[in-house]
């Protein structure tokens, strides 16, 4: 009860705050401003209280609340219990609203000191209201008897909850969503600043104030994304860290826009040009966050995504669509309104200038974002256009990202080497020379290691070029003033990541291997022996595999367990991390005798023949066993088959017998037992016997004799992932660079 009201009050005060900020501008009375600030802070307090309440309910196991019941249980460790807060829709919206509220309080002071408060906060509070409205509709404080009317009596308190999906029960669940949502919340800030700039008719200076926040959004969102990737890699066991799944893409796309925004902001600050680009990118970046929320939560992609979330219902669908429509109209509409007034400042720079390189870079980022966006929205698009939704194959993303990746990497390199305003072509060529030669050497050096594909070689060359260029320049800057090296460091990280991406995905070698217990198997340059399994915790089983190579040996123990919650087999990989590659082992299954081989089906008319492998099978006729019937036994009908194999030809008669328990299928084999025949169904045609058919199931060769292994066989999928470590190392380097940049731009914003 309290919780519901806290949320409603939070919504009301956020909305009021937005209106009050707006009115302050209209009426120009300081009192409204005070009211507005007070009500925003009040809203924030209400949100914090609601969040604290939900957390309290979770920690005290109050399962009469549907949300608490749905996602938590008494057997979860404390960190995981806390993480159930955002395990479901309602809670994750609340988390998002919480972060937005906290950011808003800080933003309010920040913007006020720089004269942007009223406009920025009016918009920002509006965003917060929209988020809170979702929570008002999809309430985390609902009782079980309200959610399942008629099935649960009022006042019933379940003794335990459903629990958290085992897939989510690990360390990463504790940090990935919070960081990601911080990123989403942070993306509202550049949007709010952009609108404020439009509102105030301030087309140039809003950037300086917005820049550190945009960098922060890129930092938070980027970190959140990579945490998700590492989680997928280390725990989920499908062998990768990025699947171009709609859920992943929809946080990647706004991130690309955030980074592009940062770069155009830099250009606009120096030259005053690209005014419209900067506005549009900042505005659309936030709209894409909303769109991503829509794609992943409305159920619209349900069929085509591996992340199949539950159907949230028409309510949320309409609300999300409405929110997007509203903020799009607000942002784009206002932009169009002011567009004519905006100063059209030509670049006044040579094409050989850093300003232009930055702008090009931003455009390539946007191009990549659009490319991914189109692919991700494919089910929507194809559903509308050709009425049959279809998803794009993963190769679509690989093609586009590789092509654009080349340009991106080259620009990252050139951008650092080129001068502001204008570069002398000769000088530029000279400064490009060293990194280019280094890149060439590096690329050629990889050929003996398997680099053959020309397209990949281009990417590798470009990545090395970016790496060396930024190392050289970064080192120089660092020696001068370390605080200014953020950009170079971040770009070094990107180059490393690119190399890591190519190594670990394109050169991933992957094999499904059967390991009979105790027998060493050579694969992927290692010798693997399945030793046995043991129970580790709560019915989870670790499968020990001894790995040997060049004298050293170690054990990898991937895990499999049956999850009641998911009603299926769960798999966790084990990874051997080495400097130049990872050995990744994912368990598939433990084969203990036996499986049922389905064989092949074939339907034959009377007199018709077919070829199955080396066998030629002809359906001759039906044979009704009259003798059994006349003796008072059960009737049976056989299908007389003429089977020829090589030189031999014989008659084989599988039969169907009607017994008390129903229809019994009696298989028949060839005399040498090498093929087994069984009747699936038969359709005798009394009017035209020639049309009678029989459908047979045929098992040939080894299939007929189900081989019973005497030992357990562990089936694994093992892969070598070259240089995947660069991906994680690169991520950390990018983070470091971004943090430095935020510090630098904050200082600049303050000195304004």
């Amino acid at each position: 009860m309290i919780g519901t009201w806290l949320v409603r009050l939070a919504f009301a005060s956020a909305l009021f705050s937005s209106v009050a900020f707006y009115l302050t501008l209209r009426i120009k009375k300081g009192r409204w401003a005070k009211l507005a600030r007070l009500s925003f802070r009040t809203s924030a307090l209400f949100v914090i209280a609601a969040a604290a309440l939900l957390l309290y309910l979770i920690l005290t196991h109050q399962f009469q609340y549907t949300y608490v019941w749905s996602y938590s249980s008494t057997d979860l460790s404390l960190p995981l219990l806390v993480s159930t807060f955002y395990a479901g829709q309602e809670g994750s919206f609340l988390l998002w609203a919480l972060y937005t509220a906290v950011i808003g309080v800080v933003l309010m002071n920040y913007a006020r000191k720089r004269g942007y408060e009223l406009q920025v906060m009016s918009i920002f509070a509006l965003i917060e209201s929209a988020l809170l409205l979702m929570i008002v509709v999809k309430n985390p404080f609902e009782f079980v008897w309200r959610s399942f009317p008629g099935q649960v009596s009022e006042g019933f308190i379940p003794a335990n909850g459903r629990g958290l999906n085992p897939l989510l029960q690990n360390f990463w669940m504790v940090i990935h969503p919070p960081v990601l949502f911080t990123g989403f919340a942070a993306m509202s800030v550049p949007f709010a600043f952009a609108i404020a700039g439009l509102w105030k008719r301030d087309y140039q200076t809003w950037i300086r104030t917005a820049a550190p926040w945009t960098l922060f959004a890129a930092l938070a969102l980027g970190t959140g994304i990579m945490l998700g990737g590492y989680w997928a890699y280390e725990t989920l066991g499908w062998g990768g860290y990025w699947g171009w799944d709609p859920v992943e893409n929809s946080s990647f796309i706004p991130w690309l826009f955030a980074v592009a925004a940062v770069h155009v902001m830099l250009v606009q600050r120096r030259t005053g040009s690209y005014v419209r680009s900067t506005f549009l990118i900042s505005i659309i970046g936030f709209l894409l966050v909303l769109y991503s929320t829509f794609l992943t939560r409305s159920g619209v992609l349900g069929e085509t995504s591996v992340h199949s979330f539950a159907e949230p219902g028409m309510g949320i669908y309409i609300m999300l669509a409405g929110t997007i429509a509203f903020f799009s109209a607000l942002g784009i509409g206002w932009f169009l309104l002011r567009m004519k007034e905006m100063p059209k400042v030509p670049l006044h720079r040579s094409y050989l200038s850093r300003e232009f390189a930055l702008y090009l870079g931003a455009m390539v980022l946007i191009a990549l974002a659009i490319y991914v966006l189109v692919g991700t929205s494919s089910p929507l698009i194809t559903g509308l256009v050709q009425s049959k939704p279809s998803a794009v194959d993963i190769s679509y993303y690989a093609k586009g990202s590789r092509l654009l990746g080349i340009f991106l990497a080259l620009l990252i390199g050139i951008g650092q080497l080129i001068w502001w305003q204008r570069s002398d072509p000769a000088v530029l060529l000279r400064s490009i020379a060293y990194p280019a030669v280094g890149a060439l050497i590096g690329t050629i050096g990889l050929i003996p290691f398997g680099l053959r594909d020309a397209g990949i070689a281009l990417i590798v060359f470009a990545a090395f070029f970016a790496l060396f260029a930024n190392l050289v320049v970064g080192f120089r800057i660092f020696r001068g003033n370390p605080r200014l090296a953020g950009g170079s460091i971040a770009h070094i990280g990107i180059a490393l990541m690119l190399l890591g991406f190519i190594g670990s995905s394109y050169y991933d070698t992957n094999q499904t291997i059967s390991l009979p217990q105790g027998e060493p198997v050579k694969a992927l340059g290692y010798e693997l022996t399945y030793i046995g399994y043991r129970e580790t915790e709560h019915e989870k089983y670790a499968f020990d595999i001894k790995v040997q190579k060049d004298g050293s040996d170690f054990t990898l123990s991937p895990v499999m367990y049956y999850s009641e919650y998911n009603q299926g087999l769960m798999r966790n990989p084990d990874i051997a991390i080495r400097p130049t590659h990872d050995l990744y082992i994912e368990p598939q299954s433990l084969e203990q005798p036996h499986g049922v081989n389905p064989g092949s089906d074939v339907t034959l008319k009377k007199g018709e023949s077919t070829n199955l492998g080396e066998y030629r099978v002809t359906f001759v006729d039906f044979d009704v066993d009259r003798s059994a019937m006349m003796a008072g036994g059960m009737p049976s009908v056989a299908a007389r088959l003429s089977v020829s194999h090589g030189e031999k030809e014989e008659i084989v008669k599988p039969a169907l017998r009607i017994s008390q328990s129903g229809m019994e299928r009696i298989p028949a084999r060839c005399s040498d037992g090498s093929a087994e025949f069984q009747i699936v169904t038969m359709h005798p045609d009394e009017n035209d016997p020639a049309n009678s058919t029989v459908t047979l199931n045929v098992k040939i060769g080894d299939e007929a004799t189900v081989s019973q292994p005497t030992k357990d066989v562990l089936i694994i999928e093992a892969s070598i992932k070259p240089f995947v470590g660069f991906v994680w190392l690169g991520t950390l380097v990018v983070l470091g660079g971004l943090i430095l940049s935020i510090a630098r731009r904050s200082r600049e914003a303050r000195g304004q």
Binding site: W69, N160, S390, D393, L403, Q567, L569, V596, V713, E717
Partner: protein, 129 residues
């Protein structure tokens, strides 16, 4: 028209053409087994596993074999390169991606759609005693 505008136009057009080409190329159409048999193209077919026809993992060929029917009740034998997919038994529906060849659907991927595991049902509340 300025040279710059033309160049920009060409670049953008080039990119759009590349994008459209990749998009159309990689669009894996949803269809049924009849069509799949007829065209032999790489397609996606949605349907469900036929449990009583059995399923089998062959360690020699590293293939998982099973039967499924599509939305129009066409039945096909499916051979997947790899082991039994996660949640195979419990999947309410599955989507196979691959091509029909030699009377068998060779799947490169099998997507399993599970029952809503993110929201509970009223009947489950009673069970948690």
């Amino acid at each position: 028209m300025k040279v710059k505008t033309i160049i920009v136009g060409i670049i953008i057009a080039g990119f759009i053409i590349f994008g459209a080409y990749s998009f159309l190329q990689s669009n894996v159409e949803y269809t049924n087994f009849q069509q799949a048999k007829a065209t032999g193209k790489k397609v996606q077919v949605a349907g469900a596993w036929i449990q009583d026809r059995g399923s089998y993992f062959d360690p020699r060929t590293n293939q998982f074999v099973f039967y499924m029917h599509d939305d129009q009740n066409n039945i096909a034998k499916v051979m997947l390169d790899g082991a039994k997919p996660n949640n195979f038994e419990i999947a309410t529906s599955i989507v196979v991606k691959g091509r029909y060849r030699d009377g068998v659907f060779h799947a490169s991927e099998v997507l399993t759609k599970c029952p809503s595991k993110y929201e509970g049902k009223g009947s489950e509340v009673q069970k948690t005693m």
